[in-house]
Every structure is written in C-alpha cells, then in structure tokens.
C-alpha cells in the first residue's frame, strides 16, 4: 500500500537521522536482553549439567535390607530383640532400573563387605574387603517399557567418578585376581601397584575355624579422603565366594539425577519393586541438589528482572528525550492532520525496532556472557540454544513497548498549537 510505504519512509528516515539516539535505546535493551539470554541459557544448561556435577559428590540413595526387629519372648514381657542379619539378592538389582524415573537412575553399585586379614603371623592386619561392580552388564529382565535398553552397564565407576585412582580401574567383570586398594591400606601394608597379597577369611563353625584364602594383585590405588581409603575393592563374585555368600549383597548405592522429580518417588518405587529393602536418601543430598538449583534459578530470575528494569528505564529515557526533541515535529504532524493513532504507531514502531535489534544483539552478547558465566561459576561450557532467540526478542520488544507507554502518552498530548508559537 502507498500509505504504508510513506509510513515506512517516515519511520525509516526518522530512525536513520537519529542513529545515536536510537543506539542508546538499543544499548539499553541489549543490557537486559543479554542478561536474560545469558541467565536463561545458563539456567537451562546448568539444570541439566549441574545434576551431573552434583552426582560427582557420590551416590544419593542407599538401598539396604529392611532391618526387621523380631520380638523375642511373651507379649508384654520383653527380653530384648535380635536383629537378623539380612542380605539383598543380587538377582533383584535390575529392578532398580525398572521404576518410572528409571532414566534418572544414572548408576548403582552393590556392596558386600567382610572384614578380612592380610599378611602373615604377627603382621596380620584386619581390613574391610568390599565386593562390588566395576562396569558390570546388568540384564534388565523385565524392562519398564519395550523401548528400554535391556542391558545396563553400571558399577562403582559410574557412581563415584570423582575418585582419584592411581593405576587402573578393574575393567573385566570376571576378573577374580585384581584388587583396588585404598591409599591407607597401601601405606599400612606397604603395597604398590603390581604387588600381590593374600586375603584370609576365617569362618567360625562351632569350635572349628575354616579359613579361606585368596590371592590378589593390586591394579589401582584409590584416594577419596573417605572411608574408601581403608578398604580393598574386588569384583563382587570374589567377595561372595571368599565368604561363602553367593548371590548376596549388603547394600546398593544408587546415583539418581533429580531436578524435576521428587526423590521420595525414587524411594517409594524402589521399595515397591524390591519389597524387602529400604531406600534412604544419603545426607539429603538429593533434596539439597534441588534446593540449590532452585535458589540459583531464583537468583538468576531476580538478576534478569533487574536487568530488564534497567533496560526499560533506558528505553523510557530515550523515548521521552525523543518525544521532547520532536515536539515541533509531532505538533506539525498533528497540524497537517495526523490522528493520534498515527503518532502512536510511529513511536511504537520505533520502540519495536529498538526492541528487535536490541533483542538480536542481546542474544549474541548474552551467549558470550553465558560462556563466561559457565566457565567462571560452573566450570563448564554453555550450549547456545536457538530457542532462546525468539524469547530474547520477545522480551526485548515487550520491555521496549512497555517502556514507551509513558513517552507515547506524552507524544499524544503534544498540542498542535505549538507550531504557531515561537521557538
């Protein structure tokens, strides 16, 4: 339409002639848009990646057998209670991976513990031997959904990626001769990588003592600054055979990534799938994860709001200055017959253009800012997300239009009579 063309000419030329003024408006928008883009990108990325970060601090669920207390004696007369030693069946482990939130179960490792002795004669030392999984193929016998992978590779490496290991991890799930030992064990027993040693397990059967022994070679030395430093780790089957407890385990440590999902749901579902176990959250870490993520998100939201307010104030100042500078022009337009809506659309179009340009540039700068925040705060790179572009532009245009309400009202209130008055 010819009219639209004229409107575009007036709009375009008025903007080109006032580049520096418009630039100030655009820069104001960039401030808010880049902060919004940066924090949105960081927030989207981090809520995915931070879960993994937190997981580094260890398993967040511990599965143990239910410790049923069996009452002994007559009703009302208590003689005390006996806690039966109980185990979890290794054959039930796959069920942990068949809960509704199964994809959030990142890994698990079973443990069978036994105090064993190492060395000969007077040098004999008692050490905790832990049988567990290292990269074990767990077969999911009845997957939750037919699309699920029927194989799940997991083990201690998955749930404890932060361990410092000298030497190597045990990689073969059928390896019966390798051991990884804690740094303190290595120090007390003077063991180095490649050294062999023998563990002894004494089983008391009445008066007789049945001793079983097993030869192991050190392949890796672990340093965690935790109780693991005092333990010897071997494949689960080694521990089971040594202690004559085939198919049995004491505990399972589960690493669950939990941002949107309630950790109680994990607990309940695992307990439902394996009725004789009890799942506990470890040190409430899972809920702490959610808490910290929530707080980070709130903080980012607040910063974004502050940034957008700064933008709005900047645009408002620009627009008011523009209206004041162009008072005569507005009066002239009115005096030659421009209706208020024409004046309104001229200024709102200008605000929209400021918003769009600011939104696009703000996105680009925001992505750079996101990298900076990612590296300095979370030590990770932030993936640029294209879905943030329309959000950035939308927010920018919205802020620019909102900030223009007052200036536009001022433009509308300009009296055409001013055109006949002196300067």
């Amino acid at each position: 339409m010819v009219g639209d063309k004229m409107f575009m000419r007036i709009l375009g030329k008025s903007i080109l002639k006032r580049k520096s003024r418009i630039a100030i408006g655009v820069i104001s928008v960039i401030i808010g848009a880049s902060i919004a883009t940066a924090l949105l990108s960081v927030s989207l990325d981090v809520s995915e990646k931070v879960g993994i970060e937190f997981r580094k601090y260890g398993a967040n669920l511990m599965v143990v057998p239910k410790s049923d207390t069996i009452e002994v004696g007559f009703p009302g007369v208590e003689f005390g209670s006996v806690t039966e030693q109980r185990y979890i069946n290794e054959s039930d482990l796959w069920k942990i991976k068949t809960i509704y939130w199964r994809n959030n179960v990142l890994g698990f490792a079973p443990f069978l513990y036994q105090v064993v002795s190492v060395g000969d004669g007077v040098n004999r030392q008692n050490v905790v031997l832990a049988g567990t999984y290292f990269d074990k193929n767990v077969v999911i016998l009845q997957p939750y959904s037919p699309n699920d992978n029927p194989m799940f590779i997991t083990g201690i490496q998955e749930i404890s990626p932060w361990w410092t290991v000298n030497g190597s991890w045990i990689s073969d799930q059928n390896d019966t001769t390798s051991a990884m030992i804690g740094i303190k064990v290595a120090e007390t027993l003077h063991l180095r990588i490649g050294d062999s040693f023998t563990v002894h397990y004494d089983e008391y059967a009445g008066d007789a003592i049945n001793e079983t022994s097993h030869n192991l070679t050190v392949v890796g030395i672990i340093e965690t600054e935790g109780y693991e430093d005092n333990q010897i780790f071997v494949n689960l089957q080694v521990a089971q055979e040594l202690t004559h407890r085939p198919g049995k385990i004491h505990t399972v440590q589960v690493s669950a990534l939990c941002n949107a999902c309630p950790v109680e749901a994990f607990v309940e579902e695992i307990q439902a799938n394996i009725p004789y176990v009890e799942a506990r959250t470890v040190k409430q870490l899972a809920s702490a994860e959610m808490n910290i993520l929530g707080k980070i998100e709130n903080m980012m939201f607040l910063i974004t709001i502050v940034g957008l307010i700064a933008s709005a104030l900047g645009v408002m100042t620009t627009m008011i200055t523009s209206v004041i500078e162009r008072q005569k022009e507005i009066g002239l337009m009115k005096s030659v017959g421009a209706e208020n809506k024409k004046i309104v659309s001229l200024f709102l179009s200008e605000a929209t253009i400021i918003g769009v340009i600011g939104g696009i540039l703000g996105y680009i700068i925001g992505i750079i800012l996101a990298q900076f925040i990612g590296y300095s705060v979370f030590s990770m790179s932030i993936t640029p997300r294209f879905e943030v572009i329309p959000i950035s532009i939308g927010i920018s245009v919205g802020v620019a239009l909102l900030a223009s309400i007052f200036p536009v009202r001022r433009a509308v209130s300009v009296e055409p009579a001013i055109v006949l008055r002196g300067e």
Binding site: R9, E329, G331, L332, M333, G337, A338, L420, E423
Partner: protein, 229 residues
C-alpha cells in the same frame, strides 16, 4: 454580498485567571477574502489564528467555520476537520528535517489519506521548486523552505489559508516571492488570513484588523462601512 466562511462569536481565551488573552471577540470573515491581522506583540494574534485554525479551542464562545460549529467537535473530529479545511503557513516553516521537499508535501497527503506523488510534484513546481524535490530542508534556503511549506499547505486543497508572519524570517526578495504566491492563491479563490507586523504587507489584504489586548480595536471593514454611511 459574499457568503461568510468564518464566524467567531464572543470568543474568550484564558490560559489561566491572570492570562486572559482574548476577551469577547467577534469576527466574521467572508469566503475568498484576504484579511490581515495586525497588533502589538502579545496582543493575541497567534492565539486567534490557532482558534480559527482548529489548533486550539476557545475557553468560551462559538466558532463556526464553513457552517460547522467546531467547538462541538472532539479531538479526532477536529483533526479531520482541520486537514479538510485549513492550510497553515508558519513563520518557522516547520518542515520535517529528515524528509525531502517532496516527502514533506507527501506527508500531508499521507495524513490526509490520499497519496498522489504527481500532484505533490505539481504543487512544488507551482511554488517554483520543481528542481528541488529531493532536497532536505537543511539544503534549502529560507525562502525555498517557506515555499515548500506553502506547497504543503495547499496540497489537500483547503479553502482557508492561515499564515502567521510568513515573511518574518525572509529577506525582501524572498518575501516578495512568497507574497506573490499568496496573492496568486487569493486570486484562485482561497480565503486568506495573514498575521503581520508590516503595514505594507497588511495592505495587500482587503481588510485589516488590529488586535490590542485581545480585542479587535480597529477593523478596516467597519471603517469602510462607517465611511460609506
């Protein structure tokens, strides 16, 4: 007896209690007449022109233009009425600085609703600026700017042309050109009201009104009538 086009009835214009600019002003102007308004600075000439030009409203009284009682119109109606009926020529030209001469004229067409580039070119040729179509105001002389202003005032074919000191910022030669144009427009049948401090220019009109302290204190038309008696 020619037909009346403007009728002001006991017009008052108070900006506030202490600024009573127009006081019970009555004025009838006939179609096709050229009326000059004179008077000392601050006497209310521009205020009067604003009211006739529908740029400002009177505090009290009635204003009838071309048979329409404009004091009854709302803002939008007033804007529409103005662009149909009134052409304005300013002492300061008021061209839009970032638009060319042609675009300045076409802008008035745009706000009026019909854009006709050929007609806008024609209007500029008429004021002798056919060779300056694409110049922005800063590349035009004062006289040329004023002629663009006149072309813009004419473009929507208003019946009434209001000019407030149209030659106030111009030298003798450019002033002559502008006055010649106004004379030509008058000859074509436009009703012209021209405010001036210059009595020679005022004499170009058929009627001279002198405003002092917001009242018409002398009116050549009345004198003429008195003389006739």
């Amino acid at each position: 007896m020619s037909e009346e086009i403007i009728r002001l009835n006991s017009i008052k214009k108070y900006y506030d209690e202490n600024t009573r600019v127009l006081e019970d002003l009555n004025l009838i102007i006939n179609k096709g007449a050229w009326t000059s308004i004179m008077g000392p600075s601050g006497s209310g000439k521009t205020t009067l022109l604003n009211i006739i030009g529908c740029l400002d409203s009177a505090t009290a009284g009635s204003v009838s233009i071309n048979g329409t009682e404009i004091t009854k119109l709302n803002q939008t109606q007033l804007t529409r009425f103005r662009r149909e009926n009134i052409g304005l020529i300013f002492q300061q030209y008021h061209l839009v600085p970032y638009l060319t001469a042609l675009e300045n004229v076409m802008m008035a067409q745009y706000y009026h609703g019909v854009i006709d580039e050929a007609k806008a070119v024609e209007a500029l040729k008429k004021v002798g600026l056919g060779h300056r179509l694409d110049h922005v105001p800063s590349h035009l002389s004062g006289g040329e700017q004023q002629r663009v202003c006149i072309a813009r005032a004419l473009i929507n074919e208003p019946k009434i042309l209001l000019a407030d000191e149209p030659t106030g910022n111009l030298d003798q030669k450019n002033g002559e050109i502008v006055l010649d144009l106004i004379r030509q427009l008058h000859a074509e049948g436009h009703t012209i009201i021209l405010v001036t401090h210059n009595s020679d220019i005022a004499k170009l009109g058929q009627r001279i009104i002198t405003v002092i302290d917001g009242k018409i204190c002398s009116d050549s038309a009345c004198t003429f009538e008195i003389n006739e008696k």
